[in-house]
Assembly symmetry: C2
Homo-oligomer: 244 residues x 2
C-alpha cells in the first residue's frame, strides 16, 4: 500500500469541533505523530502506533513522519486548531524542502477550527470585520518584528488575534505587546481573553486594553484585541461589519 | 420550549468539513435561515422550515431569526465558512443591539472552517506565519480604508487573505488591490487563487503578483497573497515559520 502523509487539525479541544474529514483520517491511520497533549486526544487501537513528542521538536517530527510515510505508513500528524495556522503544516513543507527524496509522497492538509475562530464564537463576533493573527512567540522571529506588526495592525485598525501570548519561558512579551498597543492609542479597545476554549475549564473574559494585565493570559489563552469599533451588546462582544 | 438562536458555520462546501456540533444544531432546528445557496445545503425534513433569502438582506434576516426564536423556535442561521468571519454573526449582534427585547434569548455561535483555512490547506501552508484577512467588498466600508489596510499589511509583511475579491457589481476593486500591492513592492510575492474550495469544481492556482490578473478571481474565489518569504516546494506553497 502506498504510504501517505496527512497533516490534520484537531480543533481547539472539544471533539464536537473535529471535522468528519479529520475523524476519517485518524480512523485510517497506522501512525499518529504530534505534540504529546494532542496525540493524547486520539484513542489507542490495534494497528495504530502513537508517536508523541515534545513541543519544540517540529522539524524532527516532520522528518520522521515523512520517513514513516515513505515506508508505506498511513501517517497523520496532528495539530491543535488548524494545522496551517502557527502549527505543523509549515514545518512539514520546510522538512520536505530539505528532503527531495520525499517530493512525490501523497500529502494532504486537513483544516481545523483554529483557536481564534472558536474564541471569537464564544465571545460573539469580534473578528466580524478585517483582522490579523500574530504569533507572540519570539522563538522563531525577532521581538522587533512583533512590535512593528502590532503598531501597523493598530494603524490599520485591524482586530488582532494573538496566539501564544505568554508562557513560562516568555513571561514578558505579552506585557510589552499591551504597552505597544496602548502607545498606539488602543487603550479603549476591548480585549477578550479566551482560555481553554471549548474545554471543560473554558473561561472567557473581556476588559478594555487599559484594564488588561499580563497575568490574564497564559499558554492556553487566545487573546483578541478588537478594532476601534468593537463593542458590547449584553454579554456579547462584536465588531460591526460597517466602517463609516 | 424555550426558543434559541444558533449562528452556525457550514464550512466551505464539502459536508466532510461540517463540524459535528453544527450537524447536531441543524438536526435539532425548527427553522433555518440564510442566503439561499447556503440554506440549500440543508436537507428538508418534516418539522423543519427553510427560510432562504437574498444576499444583501443580512439585517432583516437577523431580525427575523430573533423574532422566530423569541416565539419559541429552535432557529439556526447558516453561513458559509465561519459565521464570525465576514458573515452573519456580526449582523445578528447588530440586530440585537437595536432590539433590546431579545437580549435574554439563548444565543450560540458555532464556528466553521472559514474559506481561508480551507484554501490554505489545499495550497499547502501559506498562512503558516502572521497574516491578515481583508474583505475586499466596499459595500460596507470606503474603498480608501481597503487601500490603506493593504498598504499597511504589505509593510507589516503579513500574508493577506482576501475575501470577496471580485463580483459582477464590483468588477474593478480587485485590480486596484493588486496595483496597490505592486506599488508597495510586493510584485514578486506568490498569490494563490483558490476557487470553489472543497467543491467538485475546485481549482487552485498560484502565480506571482506581477503575473496575477483581475479576471483570475470571482465571487467564489479566495485569494491568498503570501508574505515576502512565502515559497514553493514541489506543488506546494508555504510560508516559513521563521523570520531571520
Amino acid at each position: 500500500m502506498t504510504g501517505t502523509l496527512t497533516i490534520a487539525g484537531l480543533g481547539p479541544g472539544n471533539d464536537a469541533l473535529v471535522t468528519p474529514e479529520v475523524s476519517a483520517a485518524l480512523a485510517a491511520a497506522t501512525d499518529i505523530l504530534g505534540y504529546a497533549p494532542y496525540v493524547a486526544r486520539v484513542a489507542p487501537r490495534p494497528g495504530l502506533t502513537l508517536h508523541p513528542s515534545d513541543n519544540r521538536e517540529e522539524l524532527q517530527r516532520a522528518a520522521e513522519a515523512l520517513r514513516l510515510a515513505a515506508e508505506g505508513g498511513q501517517v497523520v500528524i496532528v495539530s491543535s486548531g488548524d494545522p496551517g495556522v502557527f502549527a505543523m503544516a509549515a514545518a512539514v513543507f520546510e522538512a520536505l524542502e530539505g528532503a527531495p527524496q520525499y517530493r512525490d509522497l501523497p500529502i494532504r492538509v486537513l483544516p481545523g477550527i483554529t483557536a481564534m475562530l472558536a474564541a471569537a464564537a464564544c465571545a460573539g463576533a469580534p473578528l466580524g470585520h478585517d483582522f490579523c493573527a500574530i504569533n507572540l512567540s519570539d522563538n522563531l522571529k525577532p521581538w522587533a518584528v512583533i512590535e512593528k506588526r502590532l503598531r501597523l495592525a493598530a494603524d490599520a485598525d485591524f482586530a488582532i488575534a494573538m496566539y501564544n501570548p505568554r508562557s513560562a519561558s516568555r513571561p514578558g512579551g505579552f506585557g510589552r505587546a499591551l504597552s505597544v498597543l496602548k502607545e498606539a492609542g488602543c487603550g479603549a479597545r476591548l480585549v477578550t481573553f479566551a482560555r481553554a476554549v471549548s474545554a471543560v475549564d473554558e473561561r472567557i473574559e473581556t476588559v478594555t486594553l487599559n484594564e488588561a494585565r499580563p497575568e490574564m493570559a497564559d499558554m492556553r489563552t487566545l487573546v483578541i484585541v478588537g478594532n476601534s469599533q468593537t463593542r458590547r451588546v449584553g454579554r456579547w462582544v462584536y465588531t460591526p461589519r460597517r466602517v463609516l
